[in-house]
Amino acid sequence: MGKPNVVVSAKKNTGNSNPNRIVGFLQKWGLPAVLLGPFLILITIFFIAPVVLIVILAFTNMDSSMVWDLNGLLNFKKMASDPNLSEIMLNTVFYVTLTLSLNIFLGLSLALLTTYFIKQESVGLIIRTIWMLPRISPPVVYILLWLWFFDPSEYGVLNSLRMIFDMPPANFLADQPMTAIVLANGLIGASYGMIIFSAAIKSIPGDLFMAARVDGAAERSIIFDIIIPAVKWPLMFVTLWQLLSLLTSYEYILLLTKGGPLFETEVLALYSYHKAFQSFEYGYGSAVALVLVVIALICTFIFWRIFGMDKMIKSSRIE
């Protein structure tokens, strides 16, 4: 698209007078500007601006009075001495690794179950659809169900179940808050991996399974020697994707435990939210968010280089 325009502008520019230059400039950049403009504006507003804003705000002491005052590294110094931050960091690591593991493991298991073990396509589809339901229902409703499940009174689902085995009612959300948020997040997150892994497993030619069985492979070997290598790239992609979204999302935790009791389930993303929108320390909240962005970038970089994700992007893996 650019080439003919360049030719036109070169011709026009031979005149070398001012109006001609403007016409030439318009002819060269007019169409690209019209075509790319909306896209560039959107990117700037919604993708670049937030990052820039966070970076700037992280170095200010902006609070509820909405005054911008650059205060250098003060926010970061404050973070270094924040008594809660080490616990929050640890929580984040626990929360992300545990949820991610549950997520990927469940997603892969469900995909294997519904595509490989259940030969009947319709049954597999029904199971997958059921697992997708929480995804398409509002988070508030989904969490409400979990709250009901964990309800400390004897009417909660869990406690009703415990009663059957003659166990006293428990306040699970207070005793095991981390387990609760990992479960709630891991179960819903599994559907994403499940869909992608299912598609990948289905694209393995049926002959390959037959060949493996003739070659003497048991189910275990078929899963680990045929299926897992075939879904290697989707597996990496989903892991990275889920890792990033787990690092930055907090809505289920907010709805389920609000980060509590105390700071037991407070993670970095939620802490940033609390600081910014509860204590109105926008500057400090942004600094926490900035740290989160840096961590996410480092994680992405590690995946990119160590696991060779760049290779996946470069070439199609359909063989």
């Binding site: 030619p205 037959m210 060949a211 493996a212 069985r213 070659d215 003497g216 045929i226 290697k232 063989e319």
Partner: protein
């Protein structure tokens, strides 16, 4: 290993049987080809031998042991799939080692045997490559090496040559034949190419719509087709068919066209220009195609087009009336409705009586 199928039937759905009442015995060390048009149940038969599919009915015996419910991994068979089905993420060597790994063969022996198998199919120099870096013929050899590496009791080849070009096909055909004789393994090969089946196999099982039509040596298939379908299917150029009766005239016979009557089959190589044969027919030339070493003549006998060979020097215009002939014992006669072959002598007497 001796293989026996007794009245084996396989149905995937209620509409019909993919394989229907198939009975077949394969002797130890024999090379058998399953031949038939696409969709006639060859692969299904093969996969039942492999244990991937369970017969709906009937029994399969390996060395007189019924093995219907034996899992594929416990059957000790090697199989080459039409698509080769190589494991894409493994190297050639890893592919060949895979069956040995499943048998828990120690690593060093695995490597040794896989290399030996690779050498056997002339792939020794490519063992570090991935399947995607190989040509079709090379992939085919990897599949073959993977199938034979564990020294199976039975080798199954499902259209192993159909993805290769013509020259490669002939080359691989000879190699497979050679390898099979060398290791003396009972082998079943599926093909829809009659020439391939005829040249490679000890015996050929011709299938149609899931049923076995004829099971005999390639020579018998060619010379003594028991069925119209087999006669049509075997031989290039295909057998000529004319519809009518044979009339005895002294020492020789003439042909009289009759659409209601039987089908008379004459191979193109048995039909000759002139009246040396004892069955003499009148024809009109429609086309003479030079093939170099000879001419392929297309001519009409009555309503039907027949083809035969003539000297390379033979020339004739379209519409030229000619006389051609064949020997009575080279002629096959088939019933039109059942397709079964009929004794030629028997058919002449009847024709004479009319």
């Amino acid at each position: 290993m001796k293989i026996e199928l007794k009245q084996v039937t396989k149905a995937f759905n209620k509409q019909g049987n993919a394989v229907n009442d198939l009975s077949l015995t394969i002797q130890d060390g024999e090379f058998v080809a399953l031949l038939g048009p696409s969709g006639c149940g060859k692969s299904t038969t093969m996969l039942m031998l492999a244990g991937i599919y369970k017969p709906t009915d009937g029994t399969i015996y390996f060395d007189n042991e019924p093995i219907n419910h034996v899992e594929p991994k416990d059957r000790n068979i090697g199989m080459v799939f039409q698509s080769y089905a190589l494991y894409p993420h493994m190297t050639v060597l890893e592919n060949i080692m895979f069956p040995l790994k499943q048998m828990k063969v120690p690593k060093s022996e695995r490597v040794f045997r896989a290399h030996a198998a690779a050498e056997q199919v002339q792939l020794g120099h490519l063992t570090a490559r991935k399947p995607s870096e190989l040509s079709g013929g090379q992939q085919q050899r990897v599949a073959l090496a993977r199938a034979i590496v564990k020294k199976p009791r039975l080798l199954l080849l499902d259209e192993p040559l159909s993805n290769l070009d013509a020259r490669m096909k002939i080359e691989m055909r000879e190699e497979i034949r050679h390898l099979q004789k060398e290791i003396g393994i009972t082998t079943v090969m599926v093909t829809h190419d009659q020439e391939e089946a005829m040249t490679i196999a000890d015996r050929v099982a011709v299938m149609k719509d899931g049923s076995l039509i004829q099971y005999s040596t390639p020579m018998d298939l060619y010379n003594k087709a028991t069925n119209l379908f087999v006669a049509q299917f075997i031989g290039t150029p295909p057998m000529n068919f004319i519809s009518g009766d044979l009339m005895k005239l002294g020492e020789s016979y003439t042909f009289q066209e009759n659409q209601q009557s039987r089908l008379i089959g004459i191979r193109p190589y048995d039909l000759k220009l002139g009246n040396q044969g004892n069955v003499i027919m009148n024809a009109t030339v429609s086309l003479v195609e030079p093939l170099g070493h000879s001419n392929l003549v297309s001519a009409r006998i009555g309503d039907k087009l027949v083809r035969f060979f003539a000297d390379a020097s033979y020339r004739a215009d379209r519409g030229t009336p000619i006389v051609c002939s064949a020997d009575l014992q080279k002629i096959a006669v088939f019933d039109k409705s059942t397709g079964q072959s009929i004794d030629t002598e028997h058919c002449i007497k009847e024709a004479f009586a009319v």
